[in-house]
Symmetry: C2
Subunit: 349 residues, 2 copies
Amino acid sequence: MTLPRIAVDAMGGDDGVRVMVEGAALARREHDTFKFLLVGDQARIEAALETHPNMRGASEILHCEDVVGGDEKPSRALRRARTTSMGLAVDAVKRGEAGAAVSAGNTGALMAMSKLALRTMPGLDRPALAALLPTLGEDDVIMLDLGANRDCDARNLVQFAIMGAAYSRIVTGRERPRVRLLNIGTEETKGTEDIQEAANRLRASTGLAMDFEGFVEADKINRGQCDVVVCDGFSGNIALKAIEGAARFVTDLLKQAFSSSIRSKVGFLVSRPATELLKHHLDPNNHNGAVFLGLNGVVVKSHGSANAKGVANAVKVAARLLEDDIVNRIAHDLGEVSDMGFAANGAAK
Amino acid sequence: MTLPRIAVDAMGGDDGVRVMVEGAALARREHDTFKFLLVGDQARIEAALETHPNMRGASEILHCEDVVGGDEKPSRALRRARTTSMGLAVDAVKRGEAGAAVSAGNTGALMAMSKLALRTMPGLDRPALAALLPTLGEDDVIMLDLGANRDCDARNLVQFAIMGAAYSRIVTGRERPRVRLLNIGTEETKGTEDIQEAANRLRASTGLAMDFEGFVEADKINRGQCDVVVCDGFSGNIALKAIEGAARFVTDLLKQAFSSSIRSKVGFLVSRPATELLKHHLDPNNHNGAVFLGLNGVVVKSHGSANAKGVANAVKVAARLLEDDIVNRIAHDLGEVSDMGFAANGAAK
């Protein structure tokens, strides 16, 4: 199968064109079948391409001058879906001119534009933002929703579980990913009514391609004991950012500690391979690329501050999802349970 | 002022009597004015006291045989408030036989018993569970609520802010602690209606002894840029546990990395003072002692898995709050704003 090309919003992110083009080139160095549609200011993209000969013949430029602002309200950005680099990258997916879109711009605007252009999949109430997090185990854990939906009811959570499991099958290769709902305790009585109802539905269902294993508390997300953590967008955002902040806190303390004396500095130099390993494992660039699941198309959000390696990872996530046909996998899994009251048109709730 | 004695539930926690008595003794080694009422099995407490001569003459034993189970439902435990070590420790505060109670038992049961015996302070809707977290700055940050109230409205959040600020004044010495509401973004439009309304009220009020500085995202909790982080109990529990889990995740990775080669092991030994500093800073025992704020009395929850140093810290937290008269400070601060629609009997909401 020839992989459809990937539309890259070349203007989004803190460092803009240079890092987006370098990231695409980096991904292409590993996968020389990747092809790109680079959307943004033609002159600046051409300048950035000059240092990346491996991108010649593999990328087309779609010129535009308008850019969505980092702090811009999604509703305002939405009105410029036809003129901005973000809007045109997503639109390319809609028109079949690209298989997936990658942007490092404003998350809310990207979500709004993607929903408008690609529409939510039939049978699904709401898309969700999913990301991979590192664990102590062999595989990454998928967490969703991470902020696309502030409030979620039981049916949303069940649908997120189905989508997360489909994504996890691609990432981990497990036929039945281990799914848990994020909660403030593991006893059945813990949490909101929606969380409890979602748990009851997941527990009762037998047709799902997953093992639902109950609740997980936020301190166990990274232990490698489950493959998918499902939550509403508010809790997910809090948990994800708390993890990021705590990891940075510890590494900052470590830096302070290692520079506190000459002996520590020597120790640091001697143990550099160990600390490099740690740095590699914790570098958010190695886990860059959050995915909007549940749309009729693949859209990947690269972190605004990601470097070229990070952007390359986001591109590889998009390619992987295309290759493994995530959209049809989710459609299939949602279809399997449409008669169980889970799907959007079901009778329950 | 003579410090009132502290009632210690000697039976709670994973390691029970031995660690609770050792913790009390450890605290008393630093503060020889501390006096204790040790509640639990007399024979076992006496046995534990044998190795701590500094506790002689400083502690009385209140014998009982019943113990609240770690997984017991609060409603069930509540029926045995008069016979369990936890219930009797809290009851001692109510009867004025102790100034504060410390327990490492079941959090939900401790909260329920404390509320029943000591009652919520006048002018306050709900007590909250508050804890100190380490930061990159000089002072610890106070976060509340951490799980006592799953759902909170705007007025609850405002009252938590007032209580957190009173606690922070004691801990940091700042006249006007910097207070923020936990949210999923810092823009004014972010978050639930209750969070936004709480922010509006805190922003509009001028009589509060704090500087309200808007929202904080979960990745900034430990940066040392604010003194009090206010949230509902669900989000607070998620954030706290995510931070604990991520910190453990990083230190586990570090251990793995340092034992990955001989060179790393040597580096570890050389840089041991640095890693010890890190270990000290991250050891949860050094921040042990969560406080139920908003009751007519001081109740401190020690972590179930805390060691003797941790228990000693919980005892010191209780002593500090007694010394600085937290109950009357909060009553005073709530009284100051009772005409502003914040207090329980106010007109608003």
